[in-house]
Amino acid sequence: MQTILEVSHVTKTFHERGGRTFRAVDDISLTVETGECVGIVGESGSGKSTLARIITRLILPDSGSVTLCGTELTAVKGAALRAAYRDMKMIFQEPRSSFDPRLTLGESLDDALKTVVPERAQRMSDAKQLFEKVGLDTHFLKLYPTQVSGGECQRAAIARAIAQKPRLLICDEATSALDVSVQAQIIGLLNEIRRESGLSLLFISHDLALVSSFCGRTYVLHDGKVVEQGATAQIIRAPSQPYTKQLVNSVLT
């Protein structure tokens, strides 16, 4: 197996007013292999989202490096960074806020396809195929984000994310705003896409049970540090941290 993503000793400190500092991410290292699904679990304030933003280079770490498919993201910019971005896409918690409300879902998808497919006719047929793949009827291409349900909008976000055939998909609480029955639909879809295309998934969530249902390996974050890592089944069977024990206990049995 080949390593898609390598995060090495990443640290990020935020400076608050009054000279106080807050270390949101503290010396975190992790890897994701080709086709692997890795979970990151932690409560609010544990550093999950800061870590996701460092990996996607929306913010730069104070120290440490992020390497995606052999490119050190923290060291490149311009065209090289844009090329690297093609290999990595992200899905957020609120699908509606990640779409431009003035564009139809089809127009947003077309924007994403433009960078990889120059011919318009080809893009149209690709867009239809992508929507079919995520279980949306093609008439949804003509709808605006406000006209569809949260689950349908998240399906469209997935279609847009996989349009450029990335090798890594980062999901930050991608199903947390959805009803459980819709969440289960989306998880099934992500798993199917991963199986078909060999895509790697980094799945960030506060829900250990959800992560355990389809992530082979998991990192548990607490106060900006990795407090537990390894095979998800092992973590659930023998949680070593009080926090992880609490997570295991809170699940419906």
Partner: protein, 324 residues
């Protein structure tokens, strides 16, 4: 017989004041003194509307049919003033966002005084403070005095939610209504709030009507579970009966969608929730794997499964597999 139930919701149908369509259809639910009832369901099922109907806040909902009896009295027959004195003192309430009921920049001991003084003019500030400290103590706050001197804006969301619960309990209501009180909280804090609610019930004998979409919370708290879909209670009964031997196809599908620690993928419910639910017949028929032509025509009747456990689905369950 009327004395038996603290709250008795009978054939309740409800709509929003300015809308045509009915939101709740023919809801029946009884809550006994000291009992914890959890209403579970997905968004749009009518859970919060049910709570609003019990709370009778003016302008929120319009009851078109049926009754809500509290200690045998029809709440609709009360004057606004009578209802106001029941609300807060007899029926406490906590919402999902603690910010909805607390003033962010008023010290917490003053807010306790406000709540107590509104219902009893003879309460002194010292008495209110003592009562508040005792409640915060029983909710296992490490330093109640510091909390009393703080403003909600200085505390975390979890702490504020626990303060809001303590404030709702200050008048020792007979029943506490709670709308998703743990949903904005981290699992660790959520577990703490669940423990505290159980403790409050044990100490004060308060009934609790808790709305949640979290089956884990319902499993830990509830004596009785009611499952809502499409503005109806589709199944209701003792916790273990409903969660481990669900009789309604929707309950079974809902439970199969909940992620568990068994490394199996949760199962989605096919199709999408209809925009408008049918008035008289089964609201789940369009998505139900067991639906027959009859389901789309028959008028719904509750069917007893066993003892207090009933369901709106008249079909013999194809499998009585143990869902535990």
């Amino acid at each position: 017989m009327q004395e038996k139930h603290l709250v008795d919701i009978r054939n309740l149908s409800v709509r929003y004041p300015d809308a045509q369509e009915t939101i709740l259809h023919d809801v029946n639910l009884t809550i006994s003194a000291g009992e914890i009832t959890c209403v579970i369901g997905e968004s749009g099922s009518g859970k919060s509307t049910l709570l609003n109907a019990v709370l009778q806040l003016p302008g929120r909902v319009e009851i078109t049919d049926g009754q809500v009896l509290f200690r045998g009295n029809d709440l609709q027959q009360l004057t606004p003033r009578q209802m106001q004195s029941i609300r807060g003192r007899e029926i406490g309430v906590v919402f999902q966002e603690p910010g909805a009921s607390l003033d962010p920049i008023r010290k917490i001991h003053k807010q306790f005084y406000d709540a107590l003084h509104a219902h009893d003019r003879s309460v002194t500030k010292a008495e209110a403070r003592q009562k508040a400290a005792a409640l915060l103590q029983s909710m296992e706050f490490k330093d109640p005095e510091r909390i009393l001197e703080s403003c909600p804006a200085q505390l975390s969301g979890g702490m504020n939610q626990r303060v809001a619960i303590a404030a709702a309990m200050a008048l020792e209501p007979a029943i506490l209504l709670a709308d998703e009180p743990t949903s904005a909280l981290d699992v660790t804090v959520q577990a703490q709030v669940v423990e505290e609610l159980l403790h409050l019930r044990a100490q004060y004998g308060t009934s609790i009507l808790l709305i949640t979409h979290n089956m884990g919370v319902a499993a830990k708290l509830a004596d009785q579970v009611a499952v809502m879909y499409g503005g109806r209670i589709v199944e209701c009964g003792p916790r273990n009966d409903v969660l481990h031997h669900p009789a309604h196809p929707y309950t079974r599908a809902l439970l199969a969608a909940v992620p568990r620690l068994d490394e199996k993928l949760p199962q989605g419910i096919p199709g999408r929730k209809p925009e408008i639910f049918p008035e008289r017949n089964c609201s789940f028929a369009s998505r139900c794997p067991y639906a027959e032509e009859l389901c789309k025509q028959a008028i719904l009747q509750p069917h007893t499964v066993s003892g207090q456990h009933w369901t709106l689905c008249g079909k013999e369950a194809p499998d009585h597999a143990d869902n535990s």
